[in-house]
Amino acid sequence: MDNSAPVNFTLTTGGEQAAHPLPSIRRRQLREAIIAGVITAMAVTGIAAVVLILVFVAREALPLFTSADVKAELGGFGKMFLPQVWKAGRPASYVWQPVGTIAKYSMIPLFVGTLKVTVVAMLVAAPVGVAAALFTSEFAPRRLREVLKPTIELLAGIPSVVIGFFALMVMATWLQTAFGFSYRLNAVVAGLGLALAVVPVVFTVSEDALAAVPRAYREASLALGATKWETAFRVVLPAAAPGVLAAVVLGFGRSIGETMIVLMASGNASITSLSLGDSVRTLPATIAAEMGEVVFGGGHYAVLFFIGVELFLFTFILNSAATIFVRRLVRRMSGVQA
């Protein structure tokens, strides 16, 4: 390609005429095309990652449907979701007990456990996060706002294993003293620990949504005689509603998938009960706790990967919903001049 290019346009810049003839236009164009190609190819990595995650996690779960050995070990797919009679004369129940003479793989205790912890976390994190966002964007003086935002963002920077440690060592003791739980580690401790991880997510996304509401909305409301809090509560918050909803949904997704905090602070007993004072075992914690002890390629192994597929799908749905809400907010705000 070097000098054999049939068309020999040379571009020269003013200062260095003829000393260094620049490469021919063709060569330049080729180089530009290659660079653009490489950059585009690398950008596809993100798409590839999401697809590969689903494919390879699902691949390890596949023996549940294809392997005769694994199917025999589980005794049918329905056993994972339907109540089973484990002892003659006893009522049918849901049991997760993968290690034992008869392995029992009911998903229900894990679903219930995950739901209990998540509900506790969201009941605290959603109102606190949204209220703090309202305060930061509507009531706090400018100076305070500029300190509050980064400070709360810092909470998101604490590794979840450290929050888990704090919940396990400190919060569990406080809460047991305060409420007299019979189990030191339970759904409330894990849920409140989880709330610490979720609150910055809810806060940051809602604050962004509230800040995106045009000034004109507030000015119009105040001019009509509404007070500051009436404006915040009845004008700004409803206008930013899709964004705030997205914040809560994202927080929900985060709390379903969070592993280390619940692994450390929930007690990890797979009990199917509605009491918040009982120990619980969640879906992610089950994978984390049991993967180290499974036989590779066996039924237990496949079930844990199946839980991974479930978690992937749950969070994928929640994230997609949040994306749709955010788009709705952007569309709603884009027609108005600030």
């Binding site: 690398m42 950008a43 209220a131 604490i158 450290v162 009436e230 997704g253 280390m260």
Partner: protein, 304 residues
């Protein structure tokens, strides 16, 4: 409603929302205070440079610090080129309204929401079982496993995938802050698109790209769930010698000391010391990143 009651309600509402903000900050302070107060007495030169001894109740945590740092470095080397290139594609190269760019954006958003434990399963299923075992079939003697088992490199690559969205989002924000006029000036002087990118756009976006790198490092250093099955070990007599060795890790050390220690009370000082080191590492990095970002954002706002 009377003026008086409206005023009272207003004060109550401000107090309530302010109380929520205060509660979050108070919890942050409480965590920091507990860790610092519990761990500061344990910190010493020996603690930072010695290996654990006496069944994990004595000695130091050097192998865990070393493993965390090396793994994070490998991760950064893997994630930065791909993350920056993706952001460059999205902001500089994708034609307006591009379907592909839209798809990349959706993928990255969803990637950010995948639970960390699922990344661990992915690392095990893809990097170890597929890539590693595949390499063994080609390169190792039959019947031996050299690559297809948990190792530093697989953990680092798993975390590189996990931190990809962090780098992309920060870099794109940085690219957005580079004024259009600079690009136009470079192009008008005859610079090509890639020359403009390399000599004008990327240097201008450097602080933001750096922020992304720091945030990714802080996130990567603190995540435990993704490395559980991909390379971490509780105790190793030697430091990892190659990327295909297993390694010790600060976060995993905290988890094991806190939950599986036979004598929790005896391990407690060591535990608090380890948490403090981990927290200082991730927290300091985060604080630096947030400071840079806040400053560049303010500058960008002032510029427009």
């Amino acid at each position: 409603m009377s003026v008086g009651s409206r005023k009272v309600l207003g004060t109550a509402f401000t107090g309530l929302t302010g109380g929520a903000a205060l509660l979050i900050v108070a919890m942050l302070v409480l965590i920091l205070w507990d860790v610092v107060a519990g761990g500061i007495g344990r910190l010493s030169w020996e603690f930072l440079t010695a290996a654990p001894s006496d069944g994990m109740t004595g000695g130091g945590i050097f192998p865990a610090i070393y493993g965390t740092v090396v793994m994070t470095l490998l991760m950064t080397v893997a994630v930065m080129p791909v993350g920056v290139a993706t952001a460059v594609y999205l902001h500089e190269y994708a034609p307006p309204g591009s379907r592909l760019a839209e798809l990349v954006r959706v993928a990255v958003t969803n990637l950010a929401g995948v639970p960390s434990i699922v990344f661990g399963l992915f690392g095990l299923g893809f990097f170890i079982q597929f890539v590693g075992r595949g390499m063994d079939r080609l390169l190792s003697e039959p019947g031996t496993l050299h690559y297809g088992q948990p190792a530093l490199i697989w953990a680092a690559l798993t975390l590189a995938v996990l931190t990809l969205p962090v780098v992309i989002v920060s870099t794109e924000e940085a690219l957005r802050a580079v004024p259009r006029e600079l690009r136009d000036a470079s192009l008008a002087l005859g610079g090509t698109k890639s020359q403009t990118l390399a000599r004008v756009v990327l240097p201008g976006a450097l602080p933001g790209i750096l922020t992304g790198a720091i945030l990714a490092v802080a996130r990567g250093a603190g995540e435990v769930a993704p490395i559980l099955f991909t390379g971490v070990a509780y105790f190793l007599p030697d430091l990892p010698r190659s990327p295909f060795s297993q390694f010790m890790h600060l976060g995993y050390h905290v988890y094991v000391l806190a939950t599986q220690s036979p004598d929790v009370e005896a391990a407690k000082p060591l535990l608090y010391g380890t948490v403090l080191v981990l927290l200082v590492l991730t927290f300091a990095l985060n604080a630096v990143a947030i400071a840079i970002r806040t400053r560049t954002r303010r500058k960008a706002e002032a510029g427009h």
